[in-house]
């Protein structure tokens, strides 16, 4: 009968606090006595150990059990911490770096879409098919990269808000651009206002969200790189403590038994020393490789990405000044800000100078040098665009700004700048991947190796002490 009374408890449909047990004194009293018995167990064990430690064989058994336990715990912790580090590096390679790259792709594609839509808008008649397809590709890339970035926003809470903004605003943005395009095709100047509204949405809402997403994912990448190069304190302390205990045990045995060496304990000591040396060597190599993956790879990529985005936004400003047709002073001011970020106020500093300082050799340095030259050409062409537009030669200014085949124009110089920065970013990502992958390789077999060495040490301790124990029988 009692069973029917309690049956609804476990089969209740909704989760909730478990039903309180019926107010029944007997049950609790019984539980208390069982619990007390359980609490008493360690005390009994300690008393038993102290009793047995009074005799030499008992003392040896206690030492053996203690050493074996320490060997196994130290081995387990060391193995787990190496395995965890291995997993972190794999996570950085397979997960975090692609996500940071996806966030970067969202940011870059959207900035490029903004600049390309404005360029296409300035073209007379039908917009050039290459600009149209570039815009389409930007939007498609941004959408695909956004889906990738969104897949991660569940475990990085900070990423959820910008992903939400991006997902909600991107369709509105493309709608506005298409409205602008349709009006422009009909010859209606209101198309320019739609394009400017689209650009305002992009700059005031979408790009800041993309920037947040990029920042969150980049910080997360750096965090995981740092955690993959941190010092494994707990494992080291345990292994060193085990080594000290082993040596102490051997000294004690030598004094008590007058035997210089105990083969089992020597084997165990050797195993621990090998673990320490192997672990230290592997971690130093791995740490420096992952660190150089961060310095030569992801850190450089970050500087280059920021340079590229400053360039893309300046390009959008350049074209939007012309789209605004005489009312573009604010865009021109923004151009100045973005250009200063890219090359510094004097043309010698900014993010490009920072990149030159970081990347001093190899293919990357050549690409950054290309980008610097292209930026100089572009700013020169921009001056020409502005002087033409300001003197009322609007059509000439548009031609200088958007025609791809005009050698001294803005468009080809900007294209070279963008391509060089993209190439330098690719070099940086490759270096990151190579270094981090090599770092990962340094840890190969270390985790199972440490486990095996711990078992060998434990076995050595057991055999060594058993040999001594036998002498007492």
């Amino acid at each position: 009968m009692t069973s029917t009374a309690t049956a609804p408890g476990p089969t209740a449909p909704a989760p909730g606090p478990p039903p309180p047990s019926p107010p029944d004194g007997r049950d609790r009293a019984g539980g208390r006595s069982g619990l007390l018995g359980l609490l008493d167990l360690p005390g009994q064990a300690v008393r038993a150990i102290i009793r047995s430690a009074a005799t030499m064989p008992g003392r040896l058994t206690v030492i053996a059990v203690g050493l074996v336990l320490l060997a196994l715990v130290a081995g387990l912790i060391a193995t787990l911490s190496v395995q965890d580090r291995d997993d972190t590096i794999s996570g950085v390679i397979d997960h975090r770096e692609p996500l940071a790259a996806a966030a970067q792709q969202v940011y870059k594609s959207l900035s490029d879409a903004d600049a390309t839509a404005a360029s296409a808008f300035l073209s007379i008649g039908t917009e050039p098919p290459e600009l149209r397809s570039r815009y389409e590709r930007d939007i498609a890339e941004a959408g695909a990269a956004l889906a990738k970035a969104a897949s991660d926003s569940s475990d990085v809470a900070d990423a959820a808000a910008p992903v939400d903004v991006l997902n909600q605003s991107l369709p509105v943005y493309t709608g506005l651009v298409e409205t602008a395009r349709a009006n422009n095709r009909l010859g209606y100047p209101v198309g320019a206002s739609y394009l400017r509204e689209a650009s305002e949405l992009m700059r005031a809402k979408i790009l800041p969200a993309a920037q947040d997403l990029y920042r969150v994912d980049t910080e997360k990448l750096i965090e995981e790189q740092d955690s993959a190069t941190g010092f494994p304190w707990l494992a080291t302390i345990l292994v060193v403590a085990f080594l000290a205990a082993l040596i102490a045990a051997q000294v004690y045995l030598t004094r008590r038994t007058n035997r210089l060496l105990n083969v089992g304990l020597v084997v165990a000591t050797a195993a621990v020393v090998v673990s320490l040396l192997w672990g230290a060597a592997a971690l130093v190599v791995q740490g420096s490789l992952v660190g150089s993956g961060q310095d030569d790879g992801s850190h450089r990529v970050d500087v280059l990405v920021r340079a590229r985005i400053a360039a893309l936004q300046a390009r959008a400003d350049e074209t939007l000044t012309l789209v605004a047709r005489g009312d573009g002073a604010t865009y021109e001011r923004d151009f100045g800000t973005n250009a200063a970020q890219l090359v510094g106020p004097d043309g010698q500093g900014g993010l490009l100078a920072e990149a030159r300082g970081l990347i001093t050799d190899g293919e990357g340095a050549a690409k950054v040098a290309d980008a610097t030259r292209a930026a100089e050409d572009w700013l020169k062409a921009h001056k020409q665009v502005r002087s033409q537009d300001d003197s009322g030669q609007y059509q000439e200014a548009v031609d200088t700004a958007v025609l791809e085949d005009r050698k001294t124009g803005s468009a080809p110089a900007f294209r070279r700048l963008d391509d060089s920065l993209q190439a330098a970013i690719d070099v940086g990502r490759q270096e990151f991947l190579d270094d981090t992958h090599d770092g990962d390789r340094a840890l190969t077999f270390l985790a199972p190796g440490l486990a095996v060495l711990a078992v060998i040490a434990a076995a050595g301790v057991t055999m060594g002490i058993r040999e001594r124990l036998r002498e007492y029988r």
Binding site: M1, T2, T4, A5, T6, P8, G9, A12, P13, A14, G16, P17, P19, P20, P22, I124, G125, D164, Q168, S169, V172, L176, N183, N184, R185, L186, G187, Y188, P189, V190, G191, A192, S193, Y194, R196, E197, A198, E200, L201, A204, K205, A324, R325, G326, D327, T330, S391, G392, Q393, Y394, Q395, V398
Partner: protein
Amino acid sequence: MSRRGNTVRAGVLAVVALLAASCGSPGKPVDPAPVSNAAWPQPAHVGGPDATAGGGADTSCNPLASLPPNGTIGSDSTMAKIKERGKLIAGVDQTTYLFGFRNPTTGNLEGFDIDMVNAIARALFGTSEGRVQFRAISSSQREDVLKDHQVDVVVRTYSITCSRKKDVDFSSVYYQAGQQILVAKESKTEKLSDLSGKRVCAAKKSTSLAKIATDPAKPVPISVDNWSDCLVMLQQGQVAAVSTDDTILAGMAAQDPTLKVVGGQFTQENYGIGVPKDNEDMVRYVNAVLEEIRGTGVWQDSYRKWVEPSLGAASPPSPQYR
């Protein structure tokens, strides 16, 4: 046995009651992705009324009285210098549909104001083809380019006012505009007072914005950077109406067949051609050209082409001279 049965029953009831209390109702299904705000995006720098709104009734002069026309070109005159240069430099608008705008399919500037510039060039050179250098300027640049002699004329929906006449000279009136209202075709709005409490759009620093802000019916003024931003907001339903010079409204109505211009002109704006202050011979010459195009039907042809479809028939305003 029966007592035990009662105890059990009571226990069952207690447990059920406890369960019911602790679980509560299952609640509503969770909204997986709540959206707080799906409003339209706005053009850049949308604001309310603007303290710097221009205009103001300065009645210290008769703004419409210009210099009497004179079509002869003296040897040392401004016109002779322009002819020598080979090009007339004109400050124009390229954003106002129907008056001065860049046709996106051809890249050329077109509109009623552009026709006026071309008429002056034709009078000077015999043809306007290749004889005009258009300089796109914003409305705030109009006085400056004239004062600095960067252009010969400004033809850019330029209202003649006494305060402006202190800095620049004007030709006779070539177009009479007035503030009206642009609304959706199905709207019952007929005058500004019908828009009480509704959002009405105008460009920053415009006299139209001041007019909306001071109207006793208290429409809600919304200010934007560019006139065509107002059309965007009207099309997106963010404002109920746009109110400004009918010239600008005509251009908007021409871009959207679902809109209409209503209200009748409740202000009067007299457009003149701006000329640098010290070029009096140029003012007289431009007045002579305007006399000619009023008489020969050039004005009427241009009006019919650009403005009549949206605002109905009109005849050229009659000039006044000092």
